[in-house]
Symmetry: C2
Subunit: 188 residues, 2 copies
C-alpha cells in the first residue's frame, strides 16, 4: 500500500537584512544556502550589490532553479507586503526562543508561507515586535552565523526532504560518489 500523499509545507522566502559590501561572501553563502535548502528566493533588502546578483544568477543558470533574487527593496516594505498577502514572518535571532520541536510545531501549525528574516546582532529593535515578526526564533542561544541558523531552520522545516529537490534547467549535475568527483553536462 502506498503511504498517504502529504502536502509539501508552505513555501519559504528569505529576507537578508544588513548587507554591506564587505559582506559579499557571507551574503552569497546566505543566498546559496536558501536556494540549496529549499527556499523559493531571497530578498536582499535596502541595498544594491550587483556582484551578489551576478553570483546568484550564475548559479541558477548553471545549476538550475527556479530561484529568485530581489535587491534593494526597503525591509519594511518587503515585510508589510508579505504580511498583507497573508504570509508569516519568522525572525531568526540569537535572542529568540530556541527552535525546539514545539516551537517549530507552532510555526507549522499556522500553515502559511513564511518569510525568514536573517540579520545580525544589530538589527533594528522593531524586528522583534509583533508588527514585524510573528516569531523570534533562535537556532541556539549562542552566537554563531546567520548562514548556519538559516541552514538548520530550513533543514528542520523541510524535514531533510529539501536535499532531494530536483532543480529545473541548469547545465550541470553532480552524480554523487563515495570516492572522487563526477559532474555531467546535461545541457550545452
Amino acid at each position: 500500500m502506498e503511504p498517504p500523499q502529504t502536502q509539501p509545507p508552505p513555501k519559504i522566502v528569505v529576507l537578508r537584512w544588513g548587507h554591506r559590501p564587505r559582506d559579499y561572501r557571507v551574503t552569497t553563502h546566505v543566498a546559496l544556502t536558501a536556494r540549496a535548502l529549499g527556499a523559493e528566493g531571497i530578498i536582499v533588502s535596502d541595498v544594491q550589490d550587483e556582484n551578489i546578483r551576478k553570483s546568484v544568477d550564475k548559479i541558477v543558470k548553471r545549476w538550475g532553479g527556479p530561484f529568485f533574487i530581489e535587491m534593494g527593496t526597503p525591509w519594511k516594505k518587503a515585510v508589510e507586503d508579505w504580511r498583507a498577502q497573508g504570509g508569516l514572518v519568522v525572525h531568526l535571532t540569537v535572542y529568540g526562543r530556541n527552535l525546539t520541536p514545539e516551537v517549530l510545531g507552532e510555526i507549522k501549525a499556522r500553515g502559511k508561507p513564511i518569510m525568514v528574516i536573517v540579520g545580525s546582532q544589530k538589527v533594528p529593535v522593531s524586528f522583534f515586535s509583533e508588527k514585524i515578526s510573528d516569531f523570534n526564533v533562535a537556532v541556539g542561544n549562542q552566537p554563531h552565523s546567520e548562514i548556519s541558523s538559516l541552514a538548520v531552520f530550513l533543514d528542520r522545516y523541510f524535514e531533510g526532504k529539501e536535499l532531494e529537490k530536483q532543480f529545473e534547467g541548469g547545465e550541470l549535475r553532480i552524480i554523487p560518489q563515495h570516492r572522487g568527483k563526477k559532474i555531467v553536462k546535461i545541457r550545452p
Copy 2:
C-alpha cells in the same frame, strides 16, 4: 518509566582547510558554528591567522567553553594523527553521497570520534581517497556553503540536542524571549 539512558555520540572536531586571509569572516563563521553546534574544537590547517584566533578566543571568554582552536598544523599531519588515534574522518563535499539517514547511520555505526573536514570545491583530490576520508558526504549535491553544510551535519549528528548544551565559564548568557532581547552578566 524513564527512557533508557543513551550514551552521547562520540565527539567531533572540525578541520577547516583552505583558509585565506580574505576568508576571515567565512572561517570565523565556520568556527563559531562548530562551537555552537556541539563540536569540541577546530583546526584551521596550514595557515596562521591571528585575527581568527582572537575572534574565537573572545567568544569563548565571553560565552563559555570548552572549545579549542588550533592553527597552522599541516592538514595531512592533522588527519594522520587523528586516524592513528583511531578517529574517523568525514569529508563534507558537494561531490559525495547525500547525507541521508542511511549514510548518517553508517557513520554513527562506526562509533568513533569524528574529524569533519570542510574545505571548498578546490580541495586536493587526495581528500577523497580512502587514505584520508572514510566518508565523502554531501549536504545536498548543489553548491552552497561550507558553513551551512557543517551546520546541517552537526544538527543531524547530534539530533538537535546540541542546541541545549550548557557551556562552562563565560561572562554572558542570553535568556530566550518571545519578544525583545534579554542578556545577563553571570560573571564580571
